[in-house]
Symmetry: C2
Subunit: 204 residues, 2 copies
DNA sequence: GCGCAACCGGTACATCCGTACCAAGTTGTG
DNA sequence: CACAACTTGGTACGGATGTACCGGTTGCGC
């Protein structure tokens, strides 16, 4: 039927358009990391992405939409990276506690952003979610993925209550990371988190 | 001597002026909590504080100065509250672990801002410090006060390495608080932190 | 081919921003 | 009382911002 052949859904971007869209989000994340969420303006995003100003309003209805989509992208990338790390560690037979600590500490360090910068961006966007309920669903999925993956690793390490242990371990990691960012220190968190993980498992 | 009678230091605000200054900082904190740091503009601050626009530039050289002073005020208030709580608990002979957990969870809940709002403001300002070294000194004093106080309480509870335990306990508290803010949940953190504190002390 | 929707990019505009300036009011001191 | 410093609040200005608009281009389905 004719209808079957012209079924490309409306509003589905063509390949080139999708690439532009992603370049814009990339630019948003870079700006959030380097200067902060206040600095995310249509003009600056366009400049960083090397695209004309109007492309920002073409692909995203508003600045809100731009930020929401950027948080979604950051969460999705980080989650995928987390799953890859965890799966590889489990298959390779690495000590699950080491895998858990590495998964937390390394996770945001890859991708096109530098480790520290992408951390700042992630936390800034998370904090945005505290004021915008629309973002909370994304935050929930994001932290949920961490809970699940860490729980599996802790269980493999012998924890009898992996959910609660993962909760505390993830919390400690996030809190210590924020503290490092806010005070400008840069010690290696791995030994401290490793010790916490051991204590949690041993106390099961 | 004549010199002795006119020794009021220059630039020391007179009482009425000091009240205005504080009202402005109060307004800054309120705006940071409700809308975010991007929304802190001279005009809006003046409006919230019910003062004329020019008063903001009179009492604070620039927007940077305004934000720095606001972080200082938040840190100072929170630290005083922390010390009060801890000292009272130690004198009253309350279980030091309960005191530690209460000191963390209750701490930012007082003051003119609602608990959740002042938490958001605190974290937002801490995150600002990640990008502005001038704020990091304040952040360091702030977290330092927590480390010290929590360390004393944990030591009283029998911890043999109070510094490290305080570090992890504070980290976990901050991380869990941020997670709650970002996901919109509101469970009581006390039992979880209490359990962590017990495990840490027991593992000494 | 041809038409239509998706896509592109330049420009315009109302609004808000940080900050400077200045004239009037207030207050403590000699 | 007079004076100087401090304080107040109204206004102005150059610049940046979010977003709307609109004519041109591209590429897919017929």
């Amino acid at each position: 039927m004719a209808a079957a052949t012209k079924n490309r859904a409306r509003n589905v971007p063509r390949p080139r358009g999708a690439a532009r869209r992603e370049a814009l989000l990339e630019a948003v994340l870079q700006i959030v990391a380097e200067v902060g969420p206040d600095a995310v303006t249509h003009r600056r995003v366009a400049e960083v992405a090397e695209l004309p100003l109007a492309s920002t309003t073409y692909w995203f209805d508003s600045k809100d939409h731009l930020l929401t989509a950027a948080l979604e992208l950051a969460a999705q990338r980080d989650t995928e990276q987390l799953h890859r790390t965890a799966a590889a560690a489990l298959l390779a037979g690495v000590d699950p506690l080491d895998a858990a600590v590495d998964a937390i500490v390394d996770s945001p360090g890859n991708g096109p952003l530098s480790g520290r910068g992408s951390l700042v961006a992630s936390f800034a966007l998370l904090l945005e979610a505290a004021r915008r309920p629309a973002l909370q669903e994304i935050s929930r999925r994001w932290t949920g993925a961490y809970h699940e993956t860490l729980g599996q690793l802790l269980q493999a390490a012998g924890s009898t209550r992996p959910a609660q242990d993962a909760d505390l371990l993830l919390g400690a990691a996030d809190g210590l990371l924020i503290e490092q960012l806010a005070t400008g220190t840069a010690d290696d968190l791995r030994p401290r988190l490793r010790r916490l993980a051991e204590i949690l498992v041993a106390a099961s």
